[in-house]
């Protein structure tokens, strides 16, 4: 018999970015809240303190800040005919584990999708006609518009503390910002960061080539800052141990620096760590949830936590897995296209060209996770899909995040991987290169999806989730086009040597190299209950007291890193619960 805890008004599953946002917003309503986090508790001190965190082997290579596959993982197949195999050690994506979630060890690139990305299908239909959409591409409009979300983007920018320069302030285009972005009601809370040498060279080349360079919007403090919750941050020192690491000096936007200490002051909020939620429990009629059951690591037993409202904020992959094992939404069947839970899984397409300059010094270790000059001239709203033969967009950027030598050792094409020539190569080229990278959208496809694996189980005996994903021609064609655009920079900058690392036509998904932790879809938002899992308020269709946060809501992925939209959607959801749901709990659509 499972132990039972006292009932709460709200149970939050996972205390990362979205769990923390929901926690503090709902705590302000006086609700009794408990958050359940499967990992350890984490603070700037002691968990992220200097110098212990400055350890590439432990955190960058052995992933000690992250989810361990022994604890939870997925299986992966590239098509419906392949047998899915477990993602046994970390590679392509790095889900989090522990208080703060991936918000502790993310890079901090903080974007708002373009307006057209919210109504992509209608945009294409109106401009080119739906016949340019490939038959198996299952893209749709989001049931929420940019204009509706704008205040919530602004709220997230202020809480996280984003450094940048608005390119479109209430419709006015400003030199030095991103001229292609959607209009912002306010400028960023902090000014942009200075450019490192690589980033400055890229900016100069971009200007000379007629593009519109700007500084990457960064969840990295550029000045001293106090956010709306009273949380204080200090300016980043470009320590170069940012992505994959907790920030040792209160500069990177994270639940720790932006929310948690303020949240912990609410007496009506509490949280339990080493508490892994195993399933959401449903009422007899299946129309509401009664709470969640979790595994208490300390007592090694299952515990039932009853609650009136369940917030699923355990990251996209875990949310979809919990829905599948809890029977939330009809499971999606990629063979027939029927069902909703697990539908429209998508990812991000990335690549890079490295330019080597024998006599120039880049000091690659001087960087932060969002250090870059960017151009959006090849973004979604700039591309003529009809003429280019693909649907999508990408930003191009250059700027070092780190110079950690185990992982960050680019060498010119043709350099030996070992032996005397390799050793010669690292001596000659370390610190003498810059990389121009792509970061592109990935559309949704009928077969790209998540369901339960028929063979493999986790340590609790639950089926692992199975991911079906591969690269499609649409995205590979876009990457080929972008690779060609980067050649203009190569011609302009005239490096001594080059290395091109882009996915080539016909490439298949390789789970080994890190690509991004931008897993999206699976519990997508929709206008109607038959096409998605949640409505525009991230409220589960047919289970009105369950709300699902995170990139699982994305109908298709955007060309940007997800967390700007993830944060805005969480604030949008919190606002709907506060202003519409609490007074009269019901389906909001």
């Amino acid at each position: 018999m499972a132990r039972q805890e006292a009932k709460k008004d709200v149970v939050i599953v996972g205390l990362g970015w979205t769990g923390s946002i929901m926690g503090i917003e709902l705590a302000q309503e006086g609700l009794e809240i408990v958050a359940l986090e499967r990992g350890r508790d984490q603070h700037t001190v002691p968990e992220f303190k200097y110098p212990n965190q400055i350890d590439e082997l432990k955190y960058g290579v052995r992933f000690k800040n992250m989810q361990h596959p022994a604890q939870q993982t997925v299986t992966v197949r590239r098509n419906l005919d392949e047998t899915a195999l477990p993602y046994r050690n970390m590679g392509s994506f790095l889900p989090a584990n522990g208080v703060g979630g991936a918000g502790t060890h993310w890079n901090g690139h903080t974007w708002r999708p373009q307006e057209v990305e919210f109504h992509l299908r209608s945009y294409i239909r109106d401009r080119w006609g739906e016949q340019i959409i490939p038959e198996d591409m299952t893209i749709a409009d989001y049931p929420v518009s940019y204009a509706e979300l704008e205040p919530f983007f602004t709220q997230f920018d202020k809480v996280a503390g984003i450094s940048g320069y608005a390119g479109n302030l209430n419709g006015q285009i400003r030199e030095g910002g991103n001229p292609f972005e959607a209009p912002r009601s306010e400028d960023y809370p902090m000014p942009p960061h200075p450019a490192t040498y690589d980033s400055a060279k890229f900016g100069e080349a971009a200007r000379a080539l007629g593009y519109h360079p700007f500084t990457m919007p960064a969840g990295i403090a550029s000045t001293a800052y106090t956010n709306p919750y009273g949380m204080q941050m200090g300016p980043c020192n470009f320590c170069g141990f940012c992505e994959r690491y907790g920030c040792y000096q209160y500069s990177k936007a994270s639940p720790q620096t932006a929310i948690l200490d303020a949240l912990k002051r609410y007496p009506n909020f509490s949280y339990r760590t080493h508490a892994e939620v195993l399933r959401v429990e449903k009422s007899a009629d299946g129309k509401t949830a009664t709470g969640v059951t979790y595994f208490d690591e300390a007592t090694q037993e299952e515990v039932f936590q009853p609650a009136d409202i369940v917030i699923m904020s355990s990251y996209q992959l875990n949310n979809v897995h919990l829905m599948l094992v809890s029977g939330i939404g009809q499971p999606y069947d990629p063979a027939t296209g029927e069902g909703v839970t697990g539908k429209n899984y998508a990812y991000q397409i990335t690549g890079g060209t490295t330019l080597f300059f024998k006599d120039e010094i880049f000091n690659p270790f001087v960087g932060h996770g969002a250090n870059a000059t960017v151009i959006d001239d090849f973004g979604m709203n700039q591309n003529d899909f009809g003429a280019l033969g693909f649907i999508g967009g990408s930003y191009l950027f250059s700027g070092t995040f780190n110079g950690q030598p185990i992982r960050s050792m680019p060498l010119p094409t043709g350099t030996a991987a070992w032996g005397a020539a390799w050793k010669e190569g690292i001596g000659e080229w370390y610190g003498h290169s810059m990389t121009i990278a792509t970061h592109g959208s990935v559309m949704s496809y009928r077969t790209h999806s998540l369901d339960l694996d028929p063979t493999y189980t986790d340590r609790h005996g639950r089926p692992l989730m199975r991911m079906t994903y591969d690269w499609n021609d649409n995205e590979l064609n876009m990457e080929a086009y972008l690779t060609g655009q980067i050649e203009k920079f190569v011609d302009f900058l005239k490096p001594d040597a080059v290395a091109r690392g882009h996915k080539l036509p016909g490439a298949h998904y390789d789970v080994r190299p890190y690509q991004s932790t931008h897993n999206t879809g699976g519990h997508i938002m929709s206008e109607t209950p038959d096409t998605g899992v949640v409505n525009k308020f991230s409220q589960v269709w047919g289970m009105h007291n369950v709300f699902a946060c995170g990139a699982g809501n994305f109908v298709q992925n955007t060309q940007y890193n997800p967390t700007g939209l993830v944060g805005a959607l969480a604030y949008h959801t919190a606002h709907a619960i506060r202003t519409q749901y609490l007074s009269n709990p019901r389906p909001l659509v």
Binding site: L57, F365, V511
Partner: protein, 233 residues
Amino acid sequence: MTDLPGYPSRRSFLKASAAGVAIAGVAGTAQAEATPQAPPLEAYEPAYFTPEEWQFILAATARLIPSEGNGPGAIETRVPVFIDLQLADDYGRADDWYMMGPHDPTAGADRGWQTPLNPAQLYRQAIPAFNAWCEAQYGKAFAVLDTAQQDAALTALQKGDADLGDELKIFFATLLANTKEGYFADPMYGGNHGMQAWVYIGFPGARAAYREWPTRHNIKYPLGPVSIKGERA
């Protein structure tokens, strides 16, 4: 100094001890801290490897990152010690990984780690298998081949021409990755001795504070590395 039988990198031991003498001569300077006392490699007692495996690791890493030319080699930086300690630890046991079956070691490399073996077991089985291949090819175990033969044997292993079977096919990639990790990781893990690899490429290690540096373009950063424990080089 005792020689390891047939072990080719005597030269690098000499080189390393010569450097040790030179540094001893400037004891008291910052540089002296860079090369803390450590038992010579041949006196090291492996935590995981058997004597046969240890011979192989010394010889193989010495070819993957040789001592000749500019910069330190795997031997001077004590990469073999690093690998030994990693395999004796949670990494060797794959404690963090999902290792439940069924396993399909025939799967393509792009499906990730699919052998049923953990890294420690992989080394244990692959070393004798590869030595047997070297015996068949050259009549000798890997450690006692000459360096040209060793390079050829490693190339064959890398390309899959030296076929050790599906469960072991990930061995070369693992050995190479672990060798580079040992070369560049913080010295507290046993390799990158004296932070020599960091000094060689110009990586400042755990300094991690560069507030004035983003705008200093094309100017060499002047300070040498520090380690997590506070050593300087």
